[in-house]
């Protein structure tokens, strides 16, 4: 059985993340604000629906801490 490839990989710039939690509210499967006060990435973005929300998370983050890397050929 092969696992389908991810649609995108999210990364958090911890130098600028302020743990506002918008990303977690939009996509709790992928983002979670930990006890240290900044967001962590739990797993890759796995569907078109998740990708839309991940892009919105990028936009809504006031410190622009989310970086999405699209996986070529998967979209």
């Amino acid at each position: 059985v092969t696992t389908p490839p991810p649609y995108a990989i999210a990364r958090i710039d911890r130098n600028v993340c302020q743990g506002t939690g918008y990303c977690e509210q939009l996509l709790p499967q992928v983002f979670r604000v930990g006890s240290e006060g900044h967001a962590d990435v739990l797993r890759e973005v796995k569907s078109h629906e998740e990708l839309e929300l991940a892009r919105e998370a990028e936009d809504i983050c006031p410190t622009r801490a989310i970086l999405l890397r699209l996986e070529p050929g998967d979209l």
Binding site: V16, Q18, T20, L26, R64
Partner: protein
């Protein structure tokens, strides 16, 4: 009716760690007690919302701050407007070749009004409309600040209420009516999506759910009032502070004069100036659950805390033993050079990038920010303090505001 303590009786938070923890905690919400003391009262605006109502509103409005829009506000509107203002000043050159501007905060505000109008959706048809809006926005900004005043402000409040009604009649209602008409045409298939404006009034009209539940009255108008004051005020307050601090810094550090043209240096200086003297003195929060902070402070459900932004931003454990001093090269323990001047947590200022730009991520995603653009233009024009007429700080408020700030330009 629940007894609400006066502002100065509320538990004061001065340490950065406690302030940061409260701002990020889900156990605290925005307190509503300040809004009715402001003029105009803009109840139900983004800043006063909590929980899902806040999240839904923020979700809709964040689209206004995408990079393409910010670059448009900065490069197509702000910079040409500022350059035109400076060109007009050049007509008043003195015998020594210098040009005097009597009121630096007003000069900054005048450059910002067009960009703020584009963000909000006000249609400015001619220079007279811009001038009138500039006057209205100055008065309304005064009214929103009366809550921080230490003297009676009844006369200001009265003036603000009249001005607010004029602004609604002359700018807001016509702009809203035009957009309602465009949206009706779009709904009827007579207007393409790409021809609809992308501004605050339009996005709120298109997303009525995001505006419902925030209170009573015309909540779009309340949001317009918030955006008008917030988008103009932070930059109007931050820019003169940075100018004064930098010019005094250069006197003692002449090697940094060459750096006045560097975007990165100007951003660090602006963030440092905002850290030392934030736009507003306090943030209020109310506990929604019994809470014990990491340092042991207990706050009962319903309890209020008053975060002293200026004190937290001068916390020596975070910003060093010289935290009271201006140092554009400062290295702190946290990456936020501006401290908590833009708030924190879920209520982190939506206009942060609008004000100071964004420098994270790929190069083509970065923005400069209004304050940085203005600083660059003013230093390029050779701005200097008037040695015979230095800036004066207002005494009748807990805010750090100038009552007088004349400047000279040597390269206009």
């Amino acid at each position: 009716m629940t007894h609400r303590p006066g502002l100065l009786d509320i538990t004061l938070i001065t340490s950065f760690a406690e302030a940061d923890e409260i701002l990020k905690s889900r156990n605290f919400m925005q307190d509503q007690m300040l809004e009715p003391s402001k003029a105009p009262n803009l109840q139900g605006n983004l800043n006063s919302l909590h929980g899902s109502a806040h999240f839904q509103r923020r979700r809709v409005e964040s689209g206004l701050f995408r990079r393409r829009s910010l670059v448009h506000y900065e490069e197509t509107i702000l910079v040409p407007e500022l350059r035109a203002t400076l060109r007009r000043l050049a007509d008043r050159k003195r015998r020594d070749g210098k040009v005097r501007a009597d009121d630096l905060p007003l000069l900054v505000r005048s450059a910002l009004v067009r960009a703020a109008s584009a963000l909000i959706g006000f249609d400015l048809e001619n220079d007279e409309a811009v001038e009138r809006l500039l006057a209205y926005s100055t008065t309304i900004a005064e009214g929103r600040d009366v809550v921080w005043a230490t003297t009676n402000q009844d006369d200001v409040v009265q003036r603000v209420h009249a001005t607010w009604q004029q602004l609604l009649d002359e700018y807001y209602r016509p702009a809203r009516a035009r957009r309602e008409k465009l949206l009706a045409e779009h709904a009827a298939g007579m207007l393409q999506e790409s021809l609809l404006p992308n501004d605050l009034i339009t996005v709120l009209l298109r997303n009525p759910d995001s505006i419902a539940g925030g209170g009573t009255g015309d909540l779009i108008a309340h949001e317009v009032g918030l955006f008008l004051t917030a988008s103009v005020n932070t930059t109007t307050v931050a820019t003169p502070k940075t100018i004064e601090a930098l010019l005094r810094w250069i006197e003692g550090h002449p090697d940094d004069r060459a750096r006045l043209a560097e975007e990165g240096f100007l951003r660090q200086a602006a963030q440092e100036a905002l850290r030392l003297d934030p736009t507003v003195p306090y943030l209020l929060r109310e506990a929604v659950a019994d809470t014990v902070l990491t340092g042991g402070r207990a706050v009962s459900r319903g309890g209020l805390v008053r975060i002293d932004i200026r004190a937290a931003n001068r916390d020596q454990t975070i910003f060093g033993t010289d935290a009271d001093q201006f140092d554009p090269h400062r290295q702190s323990k946290i990456p936020r050079r501006y401290g908590i001047s833009f708030g924190g947590g879920i209520h982190m200022c939506i206009g942060l990038e609008f004000t100071t730009g964004n420098q994270s991520g790929p190069e083509d995603e970065r923005t400069v920010g209004m304050v940085i653009h203005i600083l660059r233009e003013l230093f390029d024009a050779g701005i200097e303090l008037d040695p015979n007429d230095p800036p004066q700080i207002m005494s009748e408020t807990t805010q750090h505001k100038y009552s007088s700030f004349p400047v000279l330009f040597s390269r206009l």
